[in-house]
Structures are given as C-alpha cells and as structure tokens.
Amino acid sequence: MLAAPPAADLALPVEPAEAVESVTLAGWLSDGVGLDGFWALAVAAAVHAFVLLNLFGVLPAVFIWVERKWSARLQDRLGPTRVGGRFGWLQALADGLKLIQKEDLVPDAADGLLFRASLYVPAISVLMAFTLLPFNDRWVAVASDCGLFLILAVLSLEVVGVVLGGYTSGSKWSLLGGMREAAQMVSYEIPLALTALVPVIAAGSLSLREIGVFQAGWMFPNWLVFANPFCAAAFLCYFTVAIAECKRAPFDLAEAESELVAGYFTEYASFRWSMFMLAEYASMFVVSLIATLLFLGGWWTGIAPLDAALTGLNDWRPDVGVEGFGVGGYLANVLFAGVVCLKASLLVTVQVWVRWSLPRLRIDQVMATCLKYLTPIACVLLLGATLWPLGLLATLGRPTVFGSTFSASPSPLGGAIVEQDSALPNGDGEAGEALR
C-alpha cells in the first residue's frame, strides 16, 4: 500500500482516493445491491471462483498446445497441424473430448475411494492458490497481508494428492513414483521458500499486491530482479526450484516414463489422468506468476511512460450510465492483467523449453541438487541479501544503490485500493509497539 509510483517527474500520478474509489466485490454487493454480509461474501467468492476457474481451465489448454507444438519444432517435427484449421490450435480441446469418451478403469487392487479422490487434491490446491494471486493492483480475489506465505502453503498441498494417488493405485510403479515425489517435494520446498524471501527483504512486504506495486517505473532498477545481485541469483534459483515443484523435466522423477512407466499415474486412465495434467499445467502458471510478481515487475510493463499512460487511463471516465464504473480504469486493469499473464506465460514457455532440452536427472542426483547445492546456495543468498543493504549503508550512506524506490510523494498509495483482510494482521503488532 506504500510504494507509490516513483519519481514525480515520470508523471505517474498518485491515484487520488476520490477519483478511483475501489471497492471489493463483497463491499459493492452489500452496499450497492443490499445483500447482507454473509451472502455478499458468498456471492463475491462464487463470482471470483467462476472467473478464475475459467482461467484455470483455459490456460492449461493453451499451454498443452504450446508444449506439443514447440516440442515438435525442437525435435524437427510438425506437431499438431489439423484440428481447428491451421496450426492445430484446438488440439487440447480435441484431446479433452477424446479423454472424456475413454473407458474409466480402476484397478481391482486399488483402494477405490482414495484412488478416485486423490486427483481432486492437486486441482483444489492450485485453484486455491489462484485466490491469492493479484493480476493488477485491484484484481485480486483476496488481498491478504501475508499472501506470499499463504500461497506457498496452499501450493505445497499438491503433493498430498500425488502421494495418495501413487500409494492407493496398488501398483508398484505408482508407489515408487509417489514416494519419490514426497521426497522431492519436502526437499525442494526449503530452497523455494528461502529464495522467495530474498525479494521480500528488498520490498519489505509479504503482500503480493504491495510487492507488485513496489516495482512500478522503469524496469531497471525498479524490478526486484535488479534490486541487488542476490535477487538476480535468487530469481535463477527460484525458477530452477519452481520447475522441480511442478515435477517437470529435468526433475520429473515422479513420472519418469523411461524407468517407472508413468510413475504415480500409471494406473490412471481417461479423464482422471488428464486432471493430473491439468493441475500440473495450472501450477506451472501459478509458480511463473509468483516469479513474475516477486522478481519481474508484476503487472508493470517496465517502461515508465507506457505504465504512466496506462495508469492515466483511470482518469478517462465517460458516462456509460453505470454509477461508479470507470471505463478507462477497467481498460487499464485488463491491460495490466494481460501484461502479467503474458510475462508468466513466457516463463511457462521457458519451462517447456527446458523440459525438451535437458536430460532427466537420476533420483539421487535430484536429491543432491536440492540438498547439497540449491539449499546451501539459497541460504547464502538469504544471508547476502540481508547484509547487502547494511554494507551499502556503511559505504554509500543509503540502503540501495540507485536510491529508494519508495516515492517522495506525501501520501502513500494505500487506503483507496483494496480493503485489507482484517482476519490476517501482519503478525508483528506487538513487536512494532515494543520498538518505541
């Protein structure tokens, strides 16, 4: 809520609270429409869920097509060419239709109930992660003060579904895949959280929205990946770990089709199998979007005049007959959300590229990479990011090389944006009191 767009001379206007009055959907439903508190919240959450569910469904379809097409090109093949006219762009939909029609097989040896239930867990955890993702400074289902912490917690639930699916299949291949996945996940979560902390130190907030707002202005040096050398290294480290978190090659030991047949989903057939895939592609997008928000400037284009022009759209409010609705502001929101989705999609494409370029590691190499390389590296990065501003303070007299990103504007951006979640205070209220 603090990081106003930087440097007044870049003409990024600090949004006046009266002009752009942002309310939550629940607030609008209770005040404007007259629903009582509980129903307003329920309807708002249902609308959020519906909107994000569409994203959750459409994005994997796009990425599956991208992966098929690009992997084919990398291997000097054509890939899908027919479905949907040119370029086979409807291939993922055709795959889905085929999979719905396929016979649904549950092995006799499997634990029927848990076998059927386990595939819901990854999808639930990834869709719940969408709850906390901001797509621009107003579009977020729940603007929590500790969004980053919560989103990592929710994402880590995914492994439960994989282990459950692997164990209850009743097949030895599945068991091996599930157990490998458990080992891999519990190890890779440590460097994931450690590297996510590095930009948090630079931005001073756990709210993904605030971290995004903080990076307004020119790409260099305002994006957190350029904030200090440790942030740049942390980005590379985070991205490596994120690939492992989505169990993508070269870390896809849970699947490992060359040694474990298909790993944890060996016994899954038809549409049930595709749900694991759906959750995998959606979680690729989520970790890429988190990377974008933490390191790559969130929804900002990185070109200050362009961002200023987009933010300036907020003032364009032609009368369309709806009270309190600004066409320009809506347009700006759509464009900013498009920018952040584009950046995240590019990162997903890099994940695809990595998958089809690098050979799979062996399971002991995967574990050694995490525990003996990535974890110590992440620890060093965290300590380095802690000491870096103190070192600068001792030598340059200020904590950043290029001056503070916090604007010199008198009023912080807060208040008018999104109502903060009162159920989740910063958790350091007493500590703050004790300082004085």
Binding site: M1, L2, A42, A46, A49, L52, F56, I100, E103, D104, L105, P107, D108, A109, A110, A123, V126, L127, M128, S144, F149, L150, S169, G170, S171, W173, A183, V186, S187, E189, I190, A193, L194, I201, A202, G204, S205, L206, F271, R272, M275, I363, D364, M367, A368, K372, L387, R398, F406, S407, P410, P412, G414, D421, A423, G427, D428, G432, L435, R436
Partner: protein, 172 residues
Amino acid sequence: MDLAGHLLIFAVAAIVALAAPLTLGRLIRPKNRTPDKSAIYDCGEEAIGSSYLKFDLRFYVVALLFIVFDVELAFLFPWAAVYGSAIALTDPTLSEGVRLGLTERLGGHTPGTLPIEATLTAGDATRLAIGGALDLAVFFGVLLVGFAYVWKRGDLDWVKTVAGQARQDALR
C-alpha cells in the same frame, strides 16, 4: 472470514469443475471391464505380490530436516517483511509521509492511525536493522550447524550405504 470463505468456495468450485466432466463421461463412455483390464500394470506379466508392502522410506532424515527448516522459515517470513521495512527506513532521503507510512507498515498499524511523532528516524531504523541482521545470524547459524552435521553424517545421500562405502574406499 473473507479468506476462509474464499478458500472454501474455491475448493468446492474445483471439485465441481472436475466432477462435471467425469459425470458427463459416465453417460457416454464404454463400460466393458475384463479381468485383464482390471489388473494393475506390471510390465505385462501377472502381477507378483501386492504393492502394499514394507517400503524403505529413504528420506526419513530428510523429512525431519524439512520440518526443522520449515518451522524456521515460518518464522523468517514475518522477519523478512519487518527487516525489509526497517531497511527501507534507513534511507535518510525519504519524505516524512513515506517514513510515517513505512513505520505504520513495520508495526502492523492501520494506515493513518499513527501520530507523526511515532515515526522512526533513519538512526533508529539502522539500529533496528542491525539488530535484525544479528538475530538472523544467530537464528540461522544454529540451523546451519545442524545442517552441516547432517551433511557430514551422510544423511543427505540418497543411497547411504554406497556413498559410505565409497568414502571408506577413499580413506583406504
């Protein structure tokens, strides 16, 4: 309430979204089960034994290490936010308004409720930041000593016996 309600409704939405195509598929997909189709895949052979067996959980110590690290990390998250705010406040060029806003965020106050006298000065913030860095050094240092011990003991090796054998061979 807001968050819990959202997470609940999103979970329900995910279940509905997955159950709907499965239910639709139930109407149109074939259902011709045979004993061969219902058998688990064991490389095309008759499956030998059950897969519900005693299993070597190689990563038991790794899992213990994970718990220690994760608890530590849970404490580091609020620390990082406070430390980052304190670091931002050490910049002497900040304006009064930004300084007040950062102080409010640092202490977890509602924006606009803190009196201007309560604002942290750059000097205060520097002391706070140095204290924070020392806290981290102690807190994290203890953990790293434990990590080094586990590493030295060979618990991080996936195949412990082979690695231990290789080490003994090297000593010989």
